[in-house]
Amino acid sequence: MPRTSRSGVRLLVVAAVALAAVIAVASIGLGDNLVYYRTPSELASAPGEPGERIRLGGLVVDGSITHLDDGVTFVLTDGTADTTVVHRGDPQAVFAEGHGAVVEGVLAADGVFRSDLLMVKHSNEYRPPDDAGAGP
């Protein structure tokens, strides 16, 4: 049985700090992010507080991308519900219809989601450009 000593106390302190750090990272880092984004259906059934900054994710509907003066508008779908998004800023090259996207912003009173951060969520498929089977 180890005798309580300076090194034993030091070990406990280190272990406690390490555990606290891990828990802090996990909870601060995850927190709301455990559900990293909401789907259009979830947003429709629970729009949240007015002006609340949230993340919305879904598939970009084919043909819905329209470029604006200061950004782009498109529709995100989860197969059941759709949400129109107006994004301020130019999207990165990878952003395309038929692929996933996650936007961060605010659901306006008119039901349009106004975002200022656009992230592309790509699939787990990898294929070269000329492949006829390319799709979402």
């Binding site: 180890p2 005798r3 000593s5 090194s7 030091r10 070990l11 280190v14 272990a15 390490a18 750090a21 891990v22 990272v25 996990a26 880092g29 995850l30 927190g31 992010n33 455990l34 559900v35 990293y36 984004y37 994710g57 999207p91 990165q92 090259a93 990878v94 952003f95 395309a96 692929h99 996650v102 951060l117 656009l118 992230m119 592309v120 969520k121 790509h122 699939s123 787990n124 498929e125 990898y126 294929r127 070269p128 450009p129 492949d131 089977g133 390319a134």
Partner: protein, 238 residues
């Protein structure tokens, strides 16, 4: 040259050769991706780094259990080397992932479950290495480290399944799942060669590092008898 040195040499040469082939395949042979373009080639280093890190941590688990069973400090050294490799490779995977994420996801970083759990994984094994610095007694150090080495491994399946258990920005697995997603055969082959190259390089570094640590370790008493480990009174000198 001793047999051990010969093995090291051969592993090093094969690792280098495999690495050259992997670079050639990754940069010149594998096609670009239909969705992500050229930047998708980071797959061939980001994924091998992550997978070989998992293997390194599994080695820490095995070596830690082996130490706890026999109290042979050689296993403690092997566990430590595994952790050093795993920490380096995990950090590399995070950096490469970030470089890949910027043009594709659109952000350098985000707090989704895959990224957070990977940071926790990294911190856990940094903690494993940190625990080793607390005591001057090699057997006390080895025992504490071995316990941490066993417990910390729980993070590996958590990281892997994070993209399936929770909603994340990071996409689900392509290869490591029961129904692998479509992947161009050339791309897959390139990835596997990359995994082989990283594995051999890690093995070579691991063999060398273990040898260096063993040479630096103080001479140990005669092998343990049937009566079990020799207990030294607390505070006694080794």
């Amino acid at each position: 040259m001793t047999r051990r040195a010969q093995v090291e040499r051969i592993v090093g040469v094969v690792a280098l050769a495999t690495g050259v082939v992997a670079v050639w395949l990754g940069l010149l042979v594998a096609p670009e991706d239909a969705v992500q373009g050229q930047v998708q080639r980071l797959l061939y280093v980001h994924v091998p780094a992550a997978w070989v890190a998992y293997v390194a941590f599994a080695w820490v688990l095995i070596a830690s259990v082996a130490y706890l069973l026999g109290r042979d400090l050689a296993w403690d050294r092997r566990a430590r080397v595994g952790a050093e490799l795993g920490v380096g490779l995990t950090a590399l995977a995070i950096v490469l992932g970030s470089v890949w994420a910027r043009p594709v996801w659109g952000v350098w970083w985000t707090w989704d479950a895959r990224l957070v759990t990977t940071v926790v994984l990294l911190l856990s094994y940094v903690g494993y290495l940190g625990v080793r610095g607390l005591s001057g007694d090699p057997d006390v150090t080895a025992r504490r480290a071995a316990v941490v080495g066993v417990l910390a491994f729980v993070n590996v399946p958590i990281v892997h399944f994070s993209v399936l258990w929770w909603r994340t920005l990071h996409q689900p697995p392509t290869v490591l799942q029961p129904a692998p997603a479509p992947m161009d055969p050339t791309m897959l082959a390139t990835l596997l060669v990359g995994v082989a190259a990283f594995s051999l390089a890690a093995l070579w570094v691991g063999l060398r590092r273990t040898r260096i640590l063993a040479a630096a370790a103080p001479p140990v008493a005669a092998p343990l008898g049937a009566s079990g480990p020799i207990r030294v009174a607390a505070g006694g000198q080794r």
